[in-house]
Symmetry: C4
């Protein structure tokens, strides 16, 4: 911690201290209000950018939207500067995951002065919402997402095997479909056939490419049923993690109870001769030295 924090010398240091609690803290009313305000500002700015891409809206309100976008960008720029200013370790913040996102969410608007259209990328600032999980109910949310992270890490191998299998199926069936259907039926290349295979396997089914030969339809039907069945695999992966957790909890309860039993069954008497503990509840003599226990 920089010294201004523990030992504020000037008015500025006090201001930084106060702002730090508001911007990075959650538990104070001001901190919560700041977070909610930020959430609304982010959502509104994203909606503004979205609206600008809709021709009908843009046509009538082009100027207003541009002004709004600049207002939001200036707000976020000020906030970014403030975050750096009050941060205890500015560089750590700047190069952190959220620091980079904060920077990238204001960059496109300034870039748009030189490169037309680039400000549309501002809507990527939706990622800033990731930090605002804490607005709702901090602990529960963070717990849930960290539990999810643990579960995902634990089933890393399973997920990789799953993706690997999907990749092999996609290339394999994609190649076969390209061979069976051919460019004359819309399967113009293997990459497009792989696209078709993924679209079918995941049961998305756009319908922009559809097999027309009997063999192609037969293979597609097998693919669909496979995809329909394979969906159980991610579910199963999550299920295993869930089951493990429950298993742990049950065995934990069991252990707690077992300990209780042990405690109750053995009495707390200490042998006056040899200081031995852990005698049976009904013991008359010390099991270690044979001395009579004075119950």
């Amino acid at each position: 911690m920089p010294n201004y924090f523990e030992n504020p010398k000037s008015k500025l240091d006090l201001f930084r201290q106060k702002m730090y609690i508001i911007i990075y803290g959650v538990n104070t009313p001001a901190g919560k209000a700041f977070d909610i305000g930020l959430l609304i500002a982010i959502l509104l700015s994203v909606f503004t950018i979205m609206a600008e891409t809709v021709e009908g809206i843009d046509h009538t309100y082009h100027k207003e939207l541009i002004v709004l976008e600049w207002i939001f960008t200036i707000i976020f720029t000020l906030e970014y500067a403030l975050r750096i200013f009050v941060s205890k370790k500015p560089f750590r913040y700047i190069f952190s995951f959220y620091g980079i996102i904060d920077f990238l969410s204001i960059l496109p608007m300034f870039l748009s002065i030189f490169i037309t259209g680039s400000h549309i990328l501002s809507s990527l600032r939706i990622l800033r919402l990731l930090r605002l999980f804490r607005i709702f109910r901090l602990i529960e949310f963070v717990e849930e997402s960290s539990r999810l992270k643990v579960a995902l890490m634990a089933s890393r191998a399973k997920i990789l095997v799953f993706l690997y299998t999907v990749l092999i199926i996609a290339v394999l069936i994609g190649t076969l479909m390209y061979y069976i259907e051919g460019p004359e039926n819309g399967f113009t290349s293997i990459p497009r056939s792989v696209f078709y295979t993924i679209v079918t396997l995941t049961t998305v089914g756009y319908g922009d490419m559809v097999p027309t030969t009997a063999l192609g339809q037969f293979l597609s039907m097998i693919l669909m049923v496979t995809g329909y069945g394979i969906i159980a695999v991610p579910t199963g992966i999550v299920g295993v993690e869930v089951a493990k957790e429950v298993g742990k909890r049950i065995s934990q309860q069991q252990q707690d109870k077992d300990k209780d039993k042990e405690h109750n069954r053995l009495n707390g008497i200490v042998c006056s001769l040899c200081n031995q503990e852990g005698h049976r509840d009904d013991a008359q003599y010390c099991y270690n030295c044979g001395h009579h226990l004075n119950t």
Copy 2:
């Protein structure tokens, strides 16, 4: 309870009492018959409104359908009036969830006298079916749905995290798709691209918008596999709740059994001769020295 109910004075009070049991009660045959009649009336009236929107049917039977609709509306209006009349606390009913639905299900028809076409909204009276869960087998149904409610409340945080994540993915990928594909390929605006992203992520896949660039297809494939995998999350959420409940049940059984063991098996009597403990609850003599136990 209003005094007419406990202490009916007039014939009218007796009538209200009787009707109350029929309309709000379930256990009497008349009450059950009323509910089943209502169910059929609701379904038929909804089918009538639906039929009216089908051009072929409406063309030939327009008059008959209008008459039918008015008949159903009058029936429901009478029922609504009756419900208010016999209710113990009329205002409580009128402003209750079901009271408002009952009112809204007759309103559009009367509005249609002034505003043409508004009677179509009458089909929203399908919501009245919500109350009729009880027709089948009351307790079981209510139990199931309340259990569902508990499970949903318990996993509130998880569901919010899930929706939050879906929202962020949708805006993020939607913006990227808009940038990659552009209006010339049908991705005319970010909102439409977000629509495409949701359509793909949930594996619905209408196929009205389809990526045509290589990069767009690649991103879409990742999106599909993600959506295909993310489906495990709601399943997992339900799974956790299920597992918790089972866990509770098992540990409950365990506790019950443990209590049984403690309570039934051994008493706390100490033999007055040999100080031995741990006698069976029904023991007359000490198992260790044969001395009679003074119970």
Copy 3:
């Protein structure tokens, strides 16, 4: 059982007895061969009928296909007659579920003499396969399907609540979509809008009807995410049943073990004086009468 079976008098009775074992039995090699032959015949006959509806194939092989269909129909008719002939209770077979299916699978072909085209319905004889589960590995299959039946019956209420909810959502959102999009955007009637709603909710997504208004797209997105989430409900229903079964099994194991413990902890000694059992393993005296136990 008819007397011919227990006590065959004529050669005909012996033939019926033999045929009965072949047709209805499974364990003899002849019975198994009959079942496999029947399976192949059913599949081939279904493929024949299917082939006839494909214009290209029908054009070149029309005569051959018709001949094949008649051959299969005659085989099945003979089999049907034989089943009645050798059955112990012919009428019970005729009006049983499988008896009716057997009859319906030969009927369309004979009807086609009078009504052109009706023989296509012969492909419904695929239902006959239901009986042939037993060809593979009888016991396991029957067990699985009966377990499924039990699970389905047990979650009857849940399934009804689920379908009821889907129905209400479909009519509700269908009506709203009809109102929002209107006939000019392809939502020509409420039934068609309900069809769209079901197509979207179940994540099928044909894409023949697609919302074009902003509000319609927004409502559809909510519908998709709902449908994507609701899929957890049937999974959860099955999950609960699975979890229950596992719970039962675990508590069963527990009980078995507990019994073992009881048996081991108590010795098997019977008091020579009062015939009392159930003494502690370390008991010296009968807990009931105080008599010394001769271990």
Copy 4:
């Protein structure tokens, strides 16, 4: 093992020994590098073949792509020869699953000299990736996939019942849809209608065929809800296996603990003075009478 391996006589034998460890082994750095190099070569060669089918790319880089393909094929041919050469039992490798895949992945390119276009099938060499699971983290992966195999084998009967049911539904509803919709609505034959049924049941929903009659739409809606519900079956199958495993683990833990209790806690010694049992394993004196225990 051939004698060259245990007892290498010549320089050639030493080379074969070294190569064997590199090609078939995993644990040495050289073996790992070989595997990673192979993985990259396979992926690159598959991408090359894919690229060749994309008209735009093929047009500009046709020569380069052909050269690249030949380079990869020569590399794989050399590798194949080396695998045979260093193998301890060459014929066992040649006719093994992976041996055949290795052969088939070089064959199409050589065939393309005689049959134009057949080299496209080279992309089937993606199957070679199956062997390369081990690159990541050998043991975990193999464990996961073998566990999957066990689970699949264990639920063989359930999967067959599921596929059997899907088949019967597909033919049944397909025939009905063909009858209801007819060729004039795009349901040109029963096989095509079966295709439609599978597309709908698995919630793929291409939308190339869509029911237009009221009855066809109604039947399709039932089909969709069925398909939406049936998805729980594969999930349930996996779920049962998961639950079984957890059940086993829990009861295993229980047994382990029970054994611990028995073994560690009490010994079987009987006090020679008072005949008391149930002494702690580490007891020196009888807890009942204080007599020294002769262990």
